[in-house]
Amino acid sequence: MSTLSLDLQLLNTLAALFLLLAFAMLAQRRVVGLVDLLALQGTLLCAATLLLAWRTGERHLYFSAVLTLALKVAFLPWLLHRLIRRLGVYWDSEPLINIPSTMLLGLLIVIFSFGLAQPIAALASTATRNGIGIAVAVVLLSFLTMITRRKAMSQVIGFLSMENGLFFGAMSATYGMPMIVELGVALDVLVAMLVLGVFFFQIREQFDSLDLHHLESLREDT
């Protein structure tokens, strides 16, 4: 381990924290807390990108770091906070599966995804090869978060953290995607968020709550 240079150690730490945050989100009940965690995740992502950019000197990595900062650290959390205040959804009700067993599942998933990533990581030329495993894990964990939550808001947050995981994966595997693609993706995420905003208000005015159990009427088993 000591052979690793400082920045790499830093990067690995960031990756580990990234994973930890995913777990935290899995456990977090308060919606506001979830948003903060998301913002934190964004910050980590941004930091990692910057570090990489400085290390490799890839210019477009700086750019994407800025993009991340603007979108995922500043704008989205702000938007979500605003929505929460406007809609008054602070607490998520009890998740479908209780927290400890979710944690356990999470662990298994992490093991699975690491096992999955090993052959790839072996091929990767990049310094941050181990990030891939982390990324897969985060994606799957956010998936789990989405499954277990009952509030629309927290599902969306899960979705966003999944996006973060993807970006982390992209960055650590290939130092980021081509510029144009990243722009497109960012644009999509932005639009998605705006659409969601509209959505929330529509749902709200229909059901005056964002609880998902209102959205279970279209079914076959009737």
Partner: protein, 668 residues
Amino acid sequence: MAGNPLDPLSILLALLAAWVLIGMAGLARPASLRLVGRLLFPLGALVGAAIAVVALVSIVMPPERLVLAIGLPDLPFHLRRDALSCVFLFLLGAAAAGISIFSAGYFRAGEGTAPGLLCLQYHTFLASMGLVLLADDAYAFMVAWESMALASYFLVTTQHRIPDIRRAGFLYLLIAHVGAVAILLAFGVMQGGTWQFTFDAMRSASLAPAWASAAFLLALFGFGAKAGLVPLHVWLPEAHPAAPSPVSALMSGVMLKTALYGTLRVAFDLLGSPAWWWGLAPLALGLFTALYGVIFAAAQTDMKRLLAFSSIENIGIIFTGVGLAIVFNGNGMGQLAALALVAVLYHAINHAFMKSLLFVGTGCVLHATGQRNLGRLGGLIHRMPWVAWTTLIGALAIAGLPPLNGFVSEWLLLQAFLSAHEVPKAFLNMLLPLAAAIVVLAAALAAYVMVKFFGVIFLGQPREATLRHAHDAGRLERIGLVWLAAGCVLLGLAPMQLIRLLHVVPEQLGIAPPLAAATSWWMLVPVAGRQASYAPVLFLVGVAVTIAATIGGVSYFYHRRVRRAPPWDCGFVRLDARMQDTAEGFGQPIRHIFQPFFSMQRELPTPFDAAPRYRVEIGDRIWSGIYLPLAQGVHRVAQSVAWLQQGRIATYLLYSFATLLVLLGLML
């Protein structure tokens, strides 16, 4: 390669096209009955007659091919005319001619579909049947086959406002479609990996025995569904009563035969040399179908249902013959195989005439009385003599009585059975003669059924007051009736000429050498070298002469005085129509003897009932035993699958998640 415009195939094609055009013309003024009735249908009849003539003439000509410019990119429509297709085209044309001319006078205004549309559907139906017979590649065949089903479906549901009729149409199309898919799979096997779907490719493709057997069984299933082999017969007694009578006549008389054509084409032509044991399937199924059909026919109280079941019986006899032919052929007894095959073909042609005749007859009765229920008919021979006497001919013919045509084909079939003991297979040589006994039993029961059919409808006293002013068939209708009846008589009296032509079929299929001296012009001899004979003309002359002599003698030597009086009935005075035997009553011995076949609910009166009534309902065990459980099974499965989709988005996400994990696991 475009054939020259004067060879039979091109002419036949042109005639089929003419049918389609006539149908289209109906759309010009859909509401006008005069256009359709007075012009188009008679034209269609002419085209039918023309087709019959051309086909008959060209049976002996060598096969010829034609390729059209439509179809799939590397699979244009291939057409081919050979003896087999000619025989069936003759059947189609001759029967269609009579039925069309009858329909010209039959269809009335304000009955469901508009006349013009009906005309289109009707002629499309005819044309697609013709194309089925000419098709020489799988795709063209299937297109024609399904178009046939579709057109007939629309014809069946002409009066779609009646729920039962809709149900009948649905059942019909469903079974037809499933059958078609089976046929499709059979073709899929037969193309043998050459990806050539032309029949020539299939002829030349060499299949492993297992594959060939699979193909044959699939085809038998598919064609059996169309032909109404038990247990795939359920649509038939529903669809035939639902359809307008001329349509029932076409479906029963002609369409069922296209299934026979398909079976023969696949078994003897495409698959080359069928293994002998394949024959056992159609043989057994056919026997059971024949018995089943005729027994249920005897128990019916609706005249068109009765005829539908009688069709099932005849199909059974036909497929018995097919099975016999395959068995003979597989054991290298070519002559006998040819004999059985000829019997089958001849019976198919006969049945086309007889059954069409009977169905159009019921059509007249239906129009005159508005009744299909045998319990409300009777004594119509006085009001509608034309219909009655022509129908009598049809009834006697289908009952297999000499010297009419039904007897000839059954005679040939029995002659074939008579040599079945020579089949070099243990058990089989003992069982086949018994099969002959079943065929005879079916034929005898058919006589029973026909006596019931004719007697209850036309004889006795009218069971309803309204029947007193029933009217006879119209002019065009009479032409149709007479045409079909004449067919029955001619085929009965001069079978040899046609049979000599039919012998070309087994010869072309390479089953048997030409049977040159087998038949003299007036004496029918089954197989050269056996002395058994039947001379219909001589026979008829004999009977006629004796009858004439008797009549003459009686009226010459004795007086001719006749006095009319009320019926005696052993001195019973207050006799009325209600005391006649009803349809149920007439069927009662059958119900008694063949109890296990039926599922009956009876409602018997007690001596103390104020208004005693007797009701009996005949149910089909196969329907309640196979089809209902099937439907319920699917329903249950569907219900149990439904909980997969319970509207909760978390669950759906879980599905995606699980799928993802599983696939990733697979990739490890």
